[in-house]
Symmetry: C2
Subunit: 455 residues, 2 copies
Amino acid sequence: MGKIPSRAYPDTMTCERKHKVVVVGSGFGGLAAAKALSKRSSRSSTEADVEVTLVDRNNFHTFQPLLYQVATSGLNAADIAHPVRGIFHDSPGVSFVHAAVTGADLERGIVHLDGTSHPVDDVPFDDLVVAAGATTNTFGTPGVEEHGFPLYNLADATALRNHVLERFEAADVAPDLIDDGALTFVVVGGGPTGVEVAGALAELFSMVLRKDFKHLDVGRARVVLVEMLPQLLGPFSDPSRRHAREALEERGVEVRVEEQVERVEATRVVLAGGEEIPAHTLIWAAGVKANPLGALLGLPTVGSGRIEVGPDLNVTGHPNVWAVGDIAASIDARTDQGPLPQLAPVAMQGGVHVAEQIRRRIDGLPTVAFRYRDKGTMATIGRSHAVAELPLRIRLRGFPAWVAWLALHLVMLAGFRNRVSVFVNWAWNWFTWDRGPRVIFGGEGATRARASDRP
Amino acid sequence: MGKIPSRAYPDTMTCERKHKVVVVGSGFGGLAAAKALSKRSSRSSTEADVEVTLVDRNNFHTFQPLLYQVATSGLNAADIAHPVRGIFHDSPGVSFVHAAVTGADLERGIVHLDGTSHPVDDVPFDDLVVAAGATTNTFGTPGVEEHGFPLYNLADATALRNHVLERFEAADVAPDLIDDGALTFVVVGGGPTGVEVAGALAELFSMVLRKDFKHLDVGRARVVLVEMLPQLLGPFSDPSRRHAREALEERGVEVRVEEQVERVEATRVVLAGGEEIPAHTLIWAAGVKANPLGALLGLPTVGSGRIEVGPDLNVTGHPNVWAVGDIAASIDARTDQGPLPQLAPVAMQGGVHVAEQIRRRIDGLPTVAFRYRDKGTMATIGRSHAVAELPLRIRLRGFPAWVAWLALHLVMLAGFRNRVSVFVNWAWNWFTWDRGPRVIFGGEGATRARASDRP
């Protein structure tokens, strides 16, 4: 069969049965797997031989590394949300289904789905790639589930943004509330997310809200960063850790190391030693656990629910099921260490690796082990300040690290359009010390009966 | 007292009691009134003699003329929402209160407020400016309240956007739903809003969603525009009306004039003649009525609840209460005709006029009548197409009208930052025929218990 007719009539002219892959999750891991599968392998002789169905409960990909900027009014929610269908305009082999996974028949190769606004049929698969990510891990700390603000998805970020702005509005009309903790923001977890959100909050207050709330003593707003270990930024080197701490403290963040949160109430945070901090806001950045989908599908899990995979990322005992990203307990074949950290680069590289292994199986080749290439870690601390640790022991601090961080994130953002919009926002923030999207919004539109009573 | 100390210590050095004005609503009318009041009058000898409290249930101003672009995935919600506090950074005499008005004691000069997330004290006033806008008028049509999508505020726009995209997702997995009306969108009302949303929907489908939904016959999506009168765009000239209709029909919009909607069900729209259109979506752009605040405050109203005002926009029988914009039944002193249409320019000019009258009263001068300067009307019909009728009988159609429309709206948008972001979005849409923010979002974050159980 010639190439031209095959392209003109892909469905009718391709006689071979296509290999069906279902990818669950449009995060970094799932997108990378679907993209890699949609590209015709140079090794493979069949054209468009793989048919990918990408499933997600959201119709957009969330650029999670910048969630903290949405939460602190630095970016619009839409700036970091990219419509999944747009990413695959030029990939005829990739379909998207807007639905949640409710279960699977792994023997027969069927995934059960539930659309939020409509019924969705089961989807058959030859190979299943589970890339459903993680959720917040409260480690059972009482009150965090009810009163804490996590920061893992876009809804978390807008809920936190609305709450922070509402607390300032409340304190503006009733300054007595400041003593009650209306303007005290406790951030739990001294990893990159905790450091970034604490630094960005402090800057939001001193640079922007100070001007917005002319009659309020915004200087009384407190950001308290609580970390269990003796230092912030565990995976970084000692100089970077010290530097980050100094940069935060310069911005007014109160850093409390070797402290643990014992319980949380609506307006109080109680530390392990018994100290009670009046605070209307607790931001929980202390850790994530795997999405419970692994257990739901009956897959073997380890530790905090991460799916057990072999060196090739094949799920133990299920030759046609793969797991990548935050939900997988993947091991680095290079160092034999694991599980690998729950970071975007691990998920992206894992997604590409699984796509290659599925291709290899189709071509009758044995699978190979996953080797993670660590390209470094970064954390940004407010305006024009960051720490970065790159390969070859390159360590950057301050402005150069921030420029590296900015460039990397702009390049990584899926889609040119969002890059432009994000860049405009950032440039504006940088030059004016202003922040645009500090609007309390995201509720009304969705909670109205009208929006949900239609079929 | 010299100028320099007075500026350095405005609160302690000004001995005179300030004149307190409460402005209700941060739409076009309220913003214009607050801005004009915050500027020191050239006639007035006292410095910063007026203290303005601007009250709104949202902490942002909504640029309503572009709501239809948010609803049709052309712009982000944040692009047309500007934080009110940012607008008054440099106006020491203007305070903002994030609250809803629940009542007033007009005799004693007190407004009662309710914060959505916090208690708010009463606010006293010497003058009250009511600029609370309008709400959708269903004219009692059965089912519209429950099943129709209005398009008057930002929540309406995001709810409609989410619903439109969800209907496409539903039809994608179950194409049988197309016969049931999943992809039929009935727009009621042939005024500028109806024309604009119908044209933008048709373009969204043919230019963007056709590429997003590769396996769906998007050509079967229908936009039906229903208008009671024999022509679209009532206030325009005959040639403009005909041109708009042709432009819509070229884009595939089915224009049904001299038709009325009798009732609406979840998946059906029934016309007055008995015809039943299977449609999962009804967009109600048939008209607005005044915000019920006038009646709530015990002010005299006329017609559909608009507040009765004298020629100077002073509320009849209440010398210290004023009403502007959609909520007021204002009369043009030039033509003696009224009530003036519920349009942004009427509200903006009314706001400035009321500010001047309050100043005049303070200075012991008599008030003067409001004279509306009609600067023309425009409606845009999709990409690079519009009709515009300007003063001096200048009529534009097609691309020149669209350029005029674009320029006017960019200039009008409050705040440079939003202009840049809106421009980036528009430029991107124009050059690529793409649309960015077609994300189904706005619900999760707000419906979560976590977001509301904090004080």
